[in-house]
Amino acid sequence: MIPAAFDYQRADSKEQAISLLSEYGDEAKLLAGGHSLIPLMKYRLAAPGVVVDVGRISELSYVRDEGDYLAIGALTCHREIEINDLVLANTGLLAAATKQVGDPQVRHRGTIGGALAHGDPASDIPSAVLALRASFIIEGPSGEREVGADDFFTGFLETALEPEELLTEIRVPKVPNSTWSFQKFNRRAQDWAIVGASVLIADDQCGVGLVNMDSKPVRASLLEDAIVSGASAEEASELAAEGLEPPSDINASTEYRSHLARVLTKRGLQESGK
């Protein structure tokens, strides 16, 4: 399988990337690690006229301790996040979810920013950043803006990013005294999750992000409210699929996905000490 023909531009800085995006607009797609975009292009599900390669902008690959949050450069690859001491010590849930992405070869190339900007409800990473209440730094021709994870994912493979904008940083709050669990149900080792759940519990806080339970990455907000109000894991997990519209496909029906969400969130809550 070979992608349709396209023009290739390499950006060496974020400014250059934004300027190329402004020049080509809708025609252009950003290429980071390429592990979402290149398969789509090979299947001819995507055929951008111009590919802007941002993969070598090394200034966007970092993990920094910023006091009450970790700042993660959008081009940091999954492997680096999986083994990064700051991530492991402060946001273990993100490391655990990242470790479940694809396989080692995929994690050597794929980036956190690329995975998030793809906006795939079947991806593991969005569930973790939703549970952790992370935010996103987006840069464009008119400057920088910060968008919360809840507002970032807007629809199936759609995000708050405008065509001329670049996701540059993910800010992940440190949650003191937290416990967490990442649950993933899939058929074979490297498969996408049929359903997955990121669970984070702290003193007066509960975050539960779900994989593949709607047309976009979502939180189980009714479940979260129930936990904060004192419900048990058993009671709260019954609400895991409330108000959501999980897809039905060859792997699982809507009903089965809803069942899995209840089972996986219960396990996740129990593993987190609830």
């Binding site: 390499r10 290429l31 995929v106 190339r109 490297q190």
Partner: protein, 149 residues
């Protein structure tokens, strides 16, 4: 780019995949194409020392970078220790997945020098053996690492 220490240069279309560049431009046919959809790992090579699936990398992304393929492992007649371990343990049946398995296994040991059996199995999750000959493959990787199985 540099492939196995040799400079290889060519003008290619942006859509040329790295695996095709390696097989066609550099005429190195040891890197196999299995699924062509980033699933099977048969096309695994090292890009700057790390295992990647060369069917999911554009050749232009490897511009000026260092590529190592299965042909770059042996030193003349002397096999790489991982190749030697695969031979000792008979870690292949039809052999189609073997180049990718060996490349993935070397990258795994670079990151986890003395893995447990579980770590080997998880570390090779991106490589499929359709003969289902995993038992001896895992044995070979453990032997190469010096770990006990």
């Amino acid at each position: 780019m540099t492939i196995n220490g040799t400079e290889v240069s060519a003008d290619v279309e942006p859509r040329t995949l790295l695996v095709h560049f390696i097989r066609e431009q550099a005429s190195l046919k040891g890197t196999n194409i299995g699924c062509d959809s980033s699933s099977c790992g048969a096309c695994t090579i090292h890009l700057n020392g790390e295992s990647v699936k060369s069917c999911t990398v554009l050749a232009v992304q490897a511009d000026d970078q260092e590529v190592t393929t299965i042909e770059g492992l042996a030193d003349g007649e002397t096999l790489h220790p991982m190749q030697e371990a695969f031979r000792d343990c008979h870690a292949l049946q039809c052999g189609y997945c073997t180049p990718g398995m060996v490349m993935a296994a070397i990258s795994l040991l670079d990151e986890v020098p003395t893995p447990t059996e579980l770590e080997v199995r998880e570390g090779l999750e991106g490589n499929l053996c359709r003969c289902t000959g995993y038992h001896n493959i895992v044995k070979a990787v453990l032997q190469a690492s010096g770990s006990k199985s």
